[in-house]
Amino acid sequence: MKLTTNKALIGLYLAASTILILSSPARSDGLSLALFTSPLGEVLKTAAIEPFREVTKIDVKADNRDWGIGAVRAKIESDSGVWDLVTVEDAEAIQGCDEGYFAKIDKSKIAGLEDFDLMDDKLECAVPFVFYGTVLAYDKARIGDEPTSWADLWDVKKWPGRRGMNKTPMATLELALMADGVERDQVYAVLATPEGVDRAFKKLDELKPNIVWWQNPGQSRQMLAAGEIVMSVTYDNGIRFFNKTQGTNFGLVRSNTITHVNYWALVEGSKNVDNAYAFLNYAAKPEVQAAVTNGLAISTPNRKAMDFVQSDLKPFLTSNPNNLKESLKLDPQFWVDNYDALSQRFDAWVSAG
């Protein structure tokens, strides 16, 4: 009796492991995309991916990718051919290109790329598709005087209460330096020195007891709406999107916005390169770019797409010249070089009591 139970158990283990092995995903030879798990991914699906599938009849699969270039690298390394195109942040695009898991993109194969002059780092392995800004946001319904600068984020006398900040050193160190009086165009020169980094952390130290860290921009908006925090560092497009969908009345500070660009990157060794270029061409069309912008209030780098953008949206976009002239472009190369060291220090600093 005992032995039969034993055999049954062994059988069960074997069956379980077989199921585990067999249930790994099947491969399709259409086109496989990896999108940010965010409203951006959802908007891309309706604005670009579904219409592209309709028009071309190419079997497009849209997968989710985890945050962090490490996760993307691990996925690609463990299962080559799992993805053809990946949405990436600027620093990820550079690092992936350096390390050879994103392929160089033949820009001449993408029509209209010369119109992408609103914002583009001209990276070898990536094509830009949206950009947005890190700003200071607040709920107009709950605040008296409206803040006007990063320095106001630190003014806990005038605006008592906790503040939301993104739990990453990227853009956080930059805005801390600007709050400490560093000019916009000097930020990276200062941050490149050990003293500059110390200065940024020292400035953050002052505010530390009042900071609530978020890891997902949605949290920052929820906390603002619930009155948990009095103001928050967050993304400009999300504020507009939230105001529109949730009926809130959030305001934001435009001065010294820090801008970020998101790119499409082509995975090295992709078996569906032609389909990938077909998709990049489709996604670069002004109408498609504008549909993404209209869907999420996120800026398009394509100048021609502005003709299709809702006119009431234009003043709010990061790409609006009035907004853009007061902005600091996040330096992706700085973060490729320094992310490991600075994020280690930042994480430890953040979690220290």
């Binding site: 900071i211 060291a341 280690q344």
Partner: protein
């Protein structure tokens, strides 16, 4: 006689063998899906072979070099050879990533130097001046010392980093400046939270278990149901519910405000208070159940006997009752304490950044930056601490002639 002994030994061996065969499947299962992966992951905390395998000539050329002495010229040629031998950037990526951990900028330096070298014709002719012309960093001894330290095959870099130490280029171990540290505060946070919650669990769990043990069957049954009730709700739901209760506009603040106890809403969420409350809620049954099980076995007559012999209530409690329930107290504390060391979701949702502790740092390095060496080193620290705590409990309870859970 000897025959009987031999027969007995044989039959015992056979019985042991049968027993062993019965547990073989679960042992194998544990070995394959648990012990094996854990050992493999933890071994990453000292594994350092990426650099030597990507830059074999350089690693060899630097093997004899010591900090403070002139760099052997062979190193430049070896580096040029290694970089040109890397046919794709991906061959170099793991090594570049590893070097970037200990010296920022190394990733870009290796990658761009490789690309530029591939474009050059015969850079082997004068490797030193060519390398230095490509980047001034190649003239800095720190660049080379970093490579030599990472040449493996094993390293103490990750383990030292995890306890805020670093190895200087001359080989001595130094403390990371406090401003730039550190993991130690996170480790402390983890233990402080675990200790606080254990203490709270005793404070709240002890009287409850005592009442339950001395109540009638019926009442004890109801109390037991109350203790087990939270297990019927998903942990996630309980955590999120605390988020709603503790908010600035949540039920608790509403009650406090309308009763006039406070002037403005209190910040109860995203801090230590919220984490302690939620952890207490989740783990207090693990304190109550072992306590109840031993309290149930202590006859009430013991306390009465102590009293009749003239012991004041506290003395009777301390000298008669407490020693008898100590195993339950120890088991409960151990269960709560060790589980608290590993909590991840509660601080992530209800805590501020200062409540995150080791588990979230480990998750961060595993999932996001893929610095598995550092994640493994932090895991080693956590595992060793758990073992130390266990050892401490066992030793302490033994010295009081008690052992865990059994008597």
């Amino acid at each position: 006689m000897p025959n009987i002994a031999r027969d007995q030994a044989r039959s015992e061996r056979a019985a042991k063998f049968r027993a062993l065969m019965l547990v073989v499947p679960i042992l194998l299962f544990l070995l394959v899906v648990f012990i094996g992966p854990v050992v493999k992951l933890l071994s990453r905390s000292v594994d350092d072979r990426d650099v030597a395998s990507a830059l074999p000539q350089t690693a060899q050329a630097l093997a004899e070099w010591r900090w403070g002495t002139p760099l052997p010229d062979a190193a430049y040629g070896a580096m040029v050879g290694d970089l040109r031998a890397a046919s794709t950037p991906a061959n170099l990526a793991p090594a570049a990533g590893r070097l970037n951990y200990s010296l920022p900028g190394m990733r870009a330096l290796l990658m761009t130097t490789r690309t530029k070298l591939q474009a050059l014709d015969r850079p082997e002719a004068d490797p030193k001046s060519i390398l230095i012309s490509l980047s001034a960093k190649w003239a800095e001894p720190a660049t080379w010392a970093n490579i030599r330290q990472a040449a493996g095959p094993i390293t103490d870099f990750y383990l030292l980093t995890a306890v805020d130490l670093k190895r200087d280029f001359d080989g001595s171990i130094a403390r990371v400046p406090p401003s730039q540290s550190s993991f130690l505060p996170s480790i402390r946070t983890t233990f402080v939270i675990a200790f606080t919650v254990t203490l709270l669990a005793i404070v709240f769990g002890f009287p409850f278990a005592y009442l339950m043990a001395s109540a009638t069957e019926r009442v004890a049954g109801i109390m037991m149901f109350v203790v087990l009730l939270p297990f019927l709700t998903a942990t996630m739901v309980r955590i999120l519910a605390w988020g709603i209760l503790l908010g600035r506009e949540g039920v608790i603040n509403y009650g406090l405000l309308s009763s006039g106890l406070v002037d403005g809403p209190l910040d109860l969420l995203y801090n230590r208070t919220a984490v302690n409350i939620a952890l207490l809620h989740i783990f207090v049954p693990y304190m109550i159940l072992p306590l109840y099980s031993v309290m149930k076995t202590v006859p009430l007559s013991h306390m009465r006997a102590a009293a009749s012999l003239g012991a004041p209530p506290f003395t009777a409690f301390r000298r008669v009752y407490l020693p008898q329930i100590a195993p339950g107290l120890a088991a409960g504390s151990l269960l709560v304490f060790i589980q608290c060391l590993g909590v991840f979701v509660v601080p992530a949702i209800l805590g501020g950044a200062q409540e995150q502790g080791l588990p979230s740092l480990i998750a961060h390095y595993v999932n996001k930056t893929l610095n598995w060496g550092l994640a493994a080193a932090l895991s080693v620290i956590l595992l060793v601490s758990v073992y130390l705590v266990y050892w401490l409990f066992v030793t302490l309870t033994k010295s009081a002639s008690l052992s865990l859970g059994t008597r």
